[in-house]
Structures are given as structure tokens and as C-alpha cells.
């Protein structure tokens, strides 16, 4: 049934020509799964739209209220709870009720935006924008080049259109490595193709150090100085057997051609390495190694230098690269860390207890900050205030 609801939306979006690539694939898959959907054509359904307006809804709602009134006035059954402190049950029942209401309501808010929360006070929001493609390229001679959408830049071995930078397959006979840095500010993201064809997506507030071209036959080595990056590494077999290593001050990841995500932010105490495909070996400074298989994540604590391996939802962990932030039951503190990097804002919790309330959900990265914050309001997070580039959660 869920598929039916999903495809109903896609059919309309197809007609309106607003399908994203991802949705196109989805639509094809669902068309195949639900063969009858091929016969559902908007042209044939338009007349039904008109018949909706013939229904008198006000009258219907009045009828429902009247019917409900009758039901309510019936004498209530008295239920006795023997030998039990009844108030415990009552309290529990009320609590469950509250939870369910909040839960349901939050979801329903998506369609009709009735507000049962305080109206947020917005002082000045013009300053806060979602992030964009941007980076600073630091060349071997120390020169710094701003890369931004709309501005092209070219060197002898690299080419950027302002949204990504591509290094030429270039000279494999290089004997000496020369390094460039790509630095992504808060509120930025960037895509880079290294000279061996390896692709790296860099998230906000990240820095990657990499050679302009790799030396043939030698280990390919790059450094995620800090921040978050998604790697799609070209296999060793295509690079004369050269393996690929991603360094960080606390960790080393050895790969043989694969896709994975590393998150190593300076203001976090863990390094997260998530394997999407293939195989990698993670190592800490003491040389302790762990093998990762797909759908597993290693969490390296910088305090204890110990690894913890857990299964994760890979899609959710790496969705930032596709324009969506996805959270699976993350505390608000962590959610806001991600948001603060992308919108380049500071976040203040007026009440420390808010930090630990958990959220799950997906957020499109191109939405306004107000849109996102308003989705998060509930009986717990009651309101927010925006002052310049600071968000205060109350």
C-alpha cells in the first residue's frame, strides 16, 4: 500500500515534469512492481477532480460532530482496576496518549500546518542561507584560489567549473609528489575527481590533501585533514596494483577500490568510517587494525583510541552527498551540529535538556533554515529564535 501512495505522487510529478533522477528510477521500479499503474493516466482522472468539489464538506463535518456528540453522551462503562494503584495506569495511559498525539501530529503537520506551538520569533533571517558548492583550492606554491559556482578555473593539470574540480589522468611518470589542498568552508560542499579517477565528495568544514598526480606503481595516498568525505576509489587493478590509503591524524584507512564515507570532525570525539561497497582496513595510531565489510561502520574513539564496529543504515549515513540529511534517531545536539555546518550558523540550546531529544527524518539540504526548524517544533522543542547567525532553541 505504501508503494501505491508513493507512486501516486510520482505519477503527478512525472506529468508536471518535476521528477528527480532518483524518482525516475523509483517510478520505473514501481511501475514494474505494480503493473496496473501503467493504466492510471492523469488525462482520464481530471474529471474526477471536478467531482470532488461537489461534496459539501462543511455539512459533512457538522454531521460528524453531531454524531460524535451522541456517542459521547452515552453513559460510560465503568472499568475497575482491582488491587492496583489506578493512578499509575491512568498516568501511563495519559502519557502514552500524549506520545502518540505528538508523534502523529508531527507527521500530520506535513500536510496541514496547524500550529499548536508558539510562533517562532525571527529577527533577521536574511543572513542564513543553505550551503552551496564552494571551496578554496591551495596550490603547491601556497597560492589560494576560491572556487565557486559560476567561476571557472584551470591549471595545467586541473579543471574546475566552480562545482567540482577534475584532475587530468596526467603524467604517471611523476617521480616527485606535489600536493594541493581543497578546503571546504562551513556552508560549502565540493566534488573532486583525482588523477586516478577516484571521486571524493567533501562535506562542509572539511579539508583534503592530495597529490596532483600519483606515482605509478606506488601506494596512492591522500589525507582527510578534517571533516567528512565520501570516497569512490578506483580499483587497484586499474592502477597497476597500487592500493589507496586515506590518512587522518588518528586513523589510516587502506582500500582496494571501494566506496566509503569518513567523518572526522575536529569538534567531535569519534571518527566514523562507513563502508558502502568493497573492503577496507582501518588502523589507529597504535597499528591496531579492523576489517570492515559493507554496511558496517567503525567508530574510533579519539579518547581511548579503540574501535567499535556496528551495522548502520548506509543510505542514511551517506545521503548528505545526494542533497539530503538523514537522521535515524539522532539526538538534537548531533542534528544541530550538521545543520550548523551546512547553514554556517551557531546553535544555542536555551535548555540543556533539549540536546538529548531524539529525531529521525530526512531533510532536503536546499531548504530554508526556517522550514527545517519549523518541522522540528513540538511540545518539547517549543520555539526558536534567530539572531543574526545564531539560532536559539527553546
Amino acid at each position: 500500500m505504501k508503494d501505491v501512495f508513493h507512486i501516486s505522487r510520482l505519477i503527478i510529478k512525472e506529468k508536471l515534469k518535476v521528477l528527480t533522477d532518483l524518482e525516475k528510477t523509483d517510478l520505473e521500479r514501481l511501475n514494474h512492481k505494480l503493473p496496473f499503474s501503467d493504466n492510471v493516466k492523469i488525462e482520464d482522472l481530471v474529471d474526477k477532480v471536478s467531482s470532488y468539489s461537489t461534496i459539501n464538506k462543511d455539512r459533512a463535518w457538522e454531521a460528524i460532530e453531531a454524531k460524535f456528540g451522541k456517542v459521547q453522551n452515552k453513559p460510560k462503562r465503568v472499568v475497575k482496576l482491582f488491587n492496583r494503584p489506578w493512578h499509575k495506569y491512568a498516568a501511563a495511559a495519559v502519557f502514552v496518549g500524549l506520545l502518540a498525539t505528538a508523534y502523529f501530529f508531527k507527521d500530520n503537520l506535513l500536510n496541514s500546518r496547524t500550529n499548536h506551538v508558539e510562533t517562532p520569533s525571527i529577527v533577521d533571517t536574511n543572513l542564513i542561507e543553505p550551503g552551496t558548492d564552494k571551496a578554496t583550492l591551495t596550490l603547491a606554491n601556497g597560492e589560494q584560489v576560491p572556487l565557486e559556482k559560476g567561476t571557472a578555473f584551470q591549471t595545467s593539470n586541473a579543471n574546475s567549473n566552480g562545482e567540482q574540480i577534475v584532475y587530468a589522468a596526467g603524467n604517471r611518470k611523476t617521480k616527485e609528489l606535489t600536493y594541493n589542498y581543497l578546503t571546504i568552508p562551513r556552508g560549502g560542499q565540493f566534488h573532486i575527481v583525482l588523477s586516478d579517477g577516484t571521486e571524493v565528495w567533501l562535506n562542509s568544514e572539511s579539508q583534503l590533501k592530495y597529490p596532483v598526480s600519483f606515482i605509478d606503481g606506488e601506494t596512492r595516498q591522500v589525507e582527510l585533514v578534517y571533516g567528512e568525505a565520501y570516497f569512490d576509489v578506483t580499483p587497484s587493478s586499474e592502477n597497476n596494483g597500487s592500493k589507496f590509503i586515506v590518512l587522518n591524524k588518528s586513523q589510516e584507512v587502506e582500500v582496494l577500490g571501494t566506496e566509503f564515507n569518513i567523518k572526522a570532525y575536529r569538534d567531535e570525539t569519534n571518527i566514523y568510517t562507513t563502508l558502502v561497497e568493497g573492503k577496507v582496513i582501518v588502523a589507529n595510531q597504535q597499528g591496531v587494525t579492523r576489517n570492515l565489510t559493507p554496511n558496517y561502520q567503525s567508530v574510533l574513539s579519539m579518547e581511548t583510541a579503540e574501535f567499535k564496529i556496528t551495522t548502520v543504515d548506509v543510505n542514511s549515513e551517506t545521503s548528505w552527498r545526494r542533497g539530503v540529511f538523514s537522521f535515524k534517531g539522532k539526538p538534537l545536539k548531533d542534528v544541530m551540529k550538521v545543520i550548523s555546518r551546512w547553514y554556517d550558523v551557531d546553535v544555542v540550546f536555551a535548555n540543556k535538556e533539549l540536546e538529548s531529544i531524539k529525531f529521525k527524518g530526512n531533510l532536503n539540504k536546499d531548504r530554508s533554515i526556517e522550514r527545517i526548524l519549523s518541522l522540528m517544533l513540538s511540545d518539547k522543542l517549543k520555539s526558536y529564535e534567530i539572531k543574526d547567525k545564531t539560532i536559539i532553541l527553546k
Binding site: M1, F36, L45, V71, T101, N108, L363
Partner: protein
Amino acid sequence: MTNNNILSKDDLKNIFDTYYEALVQYANRFLTLKDECEDLVQDIFVGLWEKENSFPDEVSLKAYLYKTTRNKCYNVIKHNKVKDKFAASTVKALEDDTLFLKQILEEEVVRQLYQAISKLPERKQEIIKLSLKGLKNSDIAEELEIKLQTVKTLKSQSYKILREQFAEYDTLIYFLLVY
């Protein structure tokens, strides 16, 4: 404990505003009397209010509403004294699960189109409906007796508004409190 409804009146009104027409139209596929359909769907809402129903998400709520409507229609027809040929074929249609899904799909497409279109001014509604039916601009101009240029302008404005509404939905993907 006086309040054992999980849904507040506001919640229920939201659900009603979103799904009432669609459920009535769906029921109307099987029951010819519109009043009977409305009555039946109203009872579902009363039940929703009364009972301690809770739904983890909107999908389960929606599924519940359509399924309940289907069951109620089934009961009405089964209990009808008149066993005519029409009733027999209707029962058969109601028992067909694939048909059920197809009908829900149609109803959901109509419902979402209706909600988006009904936000437009009347003239634009007329134009967009004709355009969605596949009529050319010149045919629309003729049908509505307005200038071709007006059709073009209003049509492109209307499509823009519709597109925004459907693109916007993705953002709202969802964001829930977890307990």
C-alpha cells in the same frame, strides 16, 4: 480519566480535510447513493475520534482509512436484501485486491491533484484541468472563450504553482520526534 481520545479535534479535522472527499468518491464506486457513501465515511471519522487508534505514520493512517471504507462498503452490499446482478459484480470487485490497489492509486492521484488545483483561482483551475486532460491551448481558448494569449499566460503561471507544490513536498519528507 475523561480523555481517552488519542486524536485531538484539530488532528481529526486535518485528517477529515485531507481525505474526506477521496473516501466518499472511493465508496461511490460501489454504492450508488452519494448520501449513503457520505454517511458511511462520516462514521469512520466518528470511529477514529472515539477509538484509541494510533498510527505510527501517515501511511498507516491512510491505509486504515481506505481499508475501512472498503470493508464498510462490502458489509453494506452483503447485507442488502436485493441480490441483483449488480450487487454480485460489485462484491466481486470489492474482493479483488489488485483492483483495490488500482482504485486507491487513482483516488490518491485525484486527491492530490484536487488539493493542489483547488488552491488556484477559478479561471486557472479551469485552464489547468483542460490542459491536464490533454487539450491544446487553442482548444482551451475556444472552450473557455478567452484569448489564446491569456490561456498561455495563465497556464504557465498555474503549472509553476503546481510544480512548486509538488516539489515542496519532498522537503517535508519528514522529521519526527523519537521516543
